[in-house]
């Protein structure tokens, strides 16, 4: 992208006098010069900040019903968007919903769900994806065949359909109750998404295991486990990081979709709880109120867009930085 010319920009002299740099230092240099990626990173950090310090930042209790103050337009609107007599109240920056809850505070609390979804299922899919991919690629044979057939099945089925069916079936079981349904949500998301990581890991393992240094390690009697851990894994970290970075926005979107369909997690009923609402369910509420208080829809929509954009730009920059040959591809 924009940083295309950066890496080749050093003069010959500098290249000679400069001490050798590790891949990671080098990659960070490239990444930090990529404006879009840094913008993405800033957005990501901002939303993590909102998620963690939500209760301190939110001006109101996100669940407090302010009777008589329903459907207030945002603070900067002198009169209503569409024919109501309500006037914006500076107390409620983005206005209120049908029962007078503060949209801005709900938005801040909603960030938590998206940010948690960005981390925990990602850890799961990376862990299992690496484990299964590396074993399948290294040993080949039955394990490999099984993995690839399973991959075929997952790829030939629309994942949204899978999420919907799983969430629908298990929501009312005890599993669906754990942690406001969060455990079930993570499980469903992880179950589909580890496959992409496993595929990439398997492919990279296949090409690395033919290299001379692996043969050398094997010839001095290194165990299979050690070869995988110390020789193969460090060499396939770049593709792993890249595929993980692109998995995150997909997970966030999947959660928002389920929330929008009313199949997401169950929001807590007291503001002491960690999850009070999610952007997905705010979008659902917003669509029904699209004429009365458009900011109920616009606020979560903008938030989802920003966070997805942040992760996508950052992922794109990461790919360019870690694997310059891939620049602009895909």
């Amino acid at each position: 992208m924009a940083s295309a010319a950066v890496a080749g920009g050093r003069s010959v002299n500098q290249a000679i006098t400069k001490p050798p740099q590790s891949l990671w230092v080098d990659a960070w240099h490239r990444l930090s010069r990529n404006k879009a990626a840094m913008f993405g990173l800033a957005l990501i950090l901002l939303f993590f900040f909102l998620a963690i310090f939500g209760p301190m930042l939110a001006p109101h209790d996100p669940l407090k019903i302010n009777s008589g103050k329903g459907f207030l337009p945002p603070a900067w609107m002198p009169a209503a968007w569409v024919s109501t007599n309500n006037v914006g109240d500076p107390q409620f920056f983005l206005g209120t919903d049908s029962i007078g809850r503060d949209v801005f505070s709900r938005l801040i609390y909603g960030a938590r769900v998206s940010m948690v979804v960005a981390i925990i299922p990602t850890i799961f899919i990376t862990f299992f994806g690496i484990l299964i991919g590396i074993v399948a690629g290294f040993f080949g044979g039955t394990a490999d065949n099984l993995l690839m057939r399973f991959t075929d099945i997952v790829y030939s089925f629309p994942d949204i359909l899978f999420f919907v069916v799983v969430m629908f079936a298990l929501r009312d079981t005890p599993i669906g109750d754990w942690g406001n349904g969060l455990i079930l949500l993570f499980g469903a998301l992880a179950l589909v998404n580890w496959v992409g990581v496993a595929r990439v890991v398997r492919g990279s393992t296949l090409s690395i295991k033919e290299k001379e240094f692996v043969e050398a390690a094997r010839s001095i009697g290194t165990s299979d486990r050690n070869i995988m851990q110390k020789h193969i894994l460090p060499n396939i970290l770049s593709p792993i990081i890249i595929i993980t970075a692109f998995a995150v926005p997909r997970l966030i979107i999947a959660e928002a979709v389920l929330g929008y369909l009313g199949l997401g997690l169950r929001p807590g009923t007291s503001s002491k709880e960690f999850f009070v609402t999610s952007w997905g369910s705010m979008l659902l509420e917003g669509q029904t109120a699209i004429n009365a208080q458009p900011w109920m829809l616009l606020a979560p929509a903008i938030a989802v867009a920003l966070v997805v954009m942040g992760f996508t730009f950052f992922g794109d920059g990461l790919r360019d930085a870690l694997d310059p040959r891939m620049r602009g591809a895909g």
């Binding site: 992208m1 924009a2 879009a36 057939r149 075929d152 099945i153 030939s156 089925f157 629309p158 994942d159 949204i160 359909l161 899978f162 919907v164 069916v165 799983v166 629908f168 079936a169 298990l170 009312d172 079981t173 926005p249 979107i253 928002a256 979709v257 929008y260 369909l261 009313g262 199949l263 979008l283 917003g286 669509q287 699209i290 004429n291 458009p294 829809l297 616009l298 929509a301 989802v304 867009a305 997805v308 954009m309 996508t312 730009f313 794109d316 602009g328 591809a329 895909g330």
Partner: protein, 334 residues
């Protein structure tokens, strides 16, 4: 080729078997008696017994599965519990709406995506290239339902240019023949109806088209860039051909092959995207029906429609893969 087809078809059978088990299994995992859940706590015992028999719940589970599969093979996807309609018949009635939407989206995606990609490649590294590729990147990453909501807000709520949902106005006079509204209205010579159907189609089709369009644009661009570096392009220019002719008849023709595949692959994405687009726009296709059935807990519909969508999805993927080899003989099948 023959061996490949056999191998793929066997895989396809396994996939469908897996999907059917999955769907069947999950619906049975739902706690409580499905009959009671569907009819409510106050249902009479006779009604509950009737529904249990209708769903085959009084038989052992493996027998239920075999019956489900045997019926599905005969094209019988069960009967909706709440409305007592055969699921297959309703799928046939609603599927044209989904196809019409997906087809409209495909046309928009191709007609905009290909020229966008060509222009970006020809004007490489210009501001046009940069901004259209940022647009493509954002387009890929934005969820369909998000785009749909934003389009409704902008063009239906704020500007009042286009309707916010459904296939026709509420008071429209429409006698379905094929259930493809655009086709039927032309067959009946009813241009007003055609225009109305088109107006209703525009927003959902754009929402559904955005992701495929972005993918097509990126693919066209990279494929064009590769071709433009070939020797025969230099030869064509050296002959003194006009740039326009070089681009359109020498470069584009060769660059289109990978693009065609990508267009084909989008069909699957369109189908799963349609589930959400239809929900956002109240579009009466099978995706919307599935979501409604989930809220209503109408198990036979959920089971049948999921299986139907999965079948369409896998079959299309197979057809695209095979077509790929027909279009580009360099691709080897193993």
């Amino acid at each position: 080729m023959g061996r490949y087809l056999v191998k793929r078809s066997v895989t396809l059978l396994f996939v469908l078997l897996g999907v059917s088990l999955l769907v069947f299994g999950f619906v049975r995992l739902i706690p409580g008696d499905p009959a009671v859940v569907m009819l409510g706590e106050r249902a009479t015992p006779e009604n509950i017994a009737r529904v249990r028999t209708q769903l085959g719940l009084d038989k052992p589970i493996y027998e239920q599965y075999l019956i489900f599969i045997a019926n599905a093979l005969r094209g019988d996807l069960g009967t909706s519990v709440l409305r007592q309609e055969p699921v297959t018949q309703e799928v046939i009635r609603r599927f044209p709406a989904t196809i019409e939407l997906a087809f409209g989206a495909m046309i928009i995606a191709t007609l905009l995506g290909v020229p966008l990609g060509i222009l970006s490649a020809v004007k490489r590294n210009s501001w046009f290239d940069a901004s259209s590729m940022v647009f493509a990147l954002t387009g890929v990453s934005m969820p369909v339902f998000w785009l749909g909501l934003m389009l409704i807000f902008l063009f239906a709520v704020m500007l009042h240019w286009l309707p916010s949902g459904a296939r026709l106005d509420a008071n429209a006079q429409y006698e379905p023949i094929t259930n493809f509204i655009l086709l039927d209205s032309l067959l009946q010579g009813n241009l007003t109806l055609f225009a109305q159907g088109l107006r209703h189609l525009i927003l959902p089709a754009i929402a559904l088209a955005t992701i495929p369009m972005a993918i097509i644009a990126r693919m066209t661009r990279s494929s064009m860039l590769e071709v433009l570096n070939q020797d025969y392009i230099r030869t064509a220019r050296a002959k003194g051909l006009r740039e326009r002719k070089v681009i359109l008849s020498h470069a584009l023709r060769n660059a289109l092959l990978p693009v065609i595949t990508v267009v084909g692959l989008q069909v699957g994405i369109l189908l799963s995207g349609a589930i959400l687009t239809e929900t956002v726009f109240s579009w009466p296709g099978i995706g919307r029906w599935l979501v409604d059935a989930i809220y209503a807990r109408d198990y036979p519909i959920i089971q049948g429609v999921t299986l139907f969508i999965a079948i369409i999805f896998v079959v299309i993927n197979l057809v695209v893969d095979v077509l790929y080899t027909v279009v580009d003989p360099r691709v080897r099948l193993e």
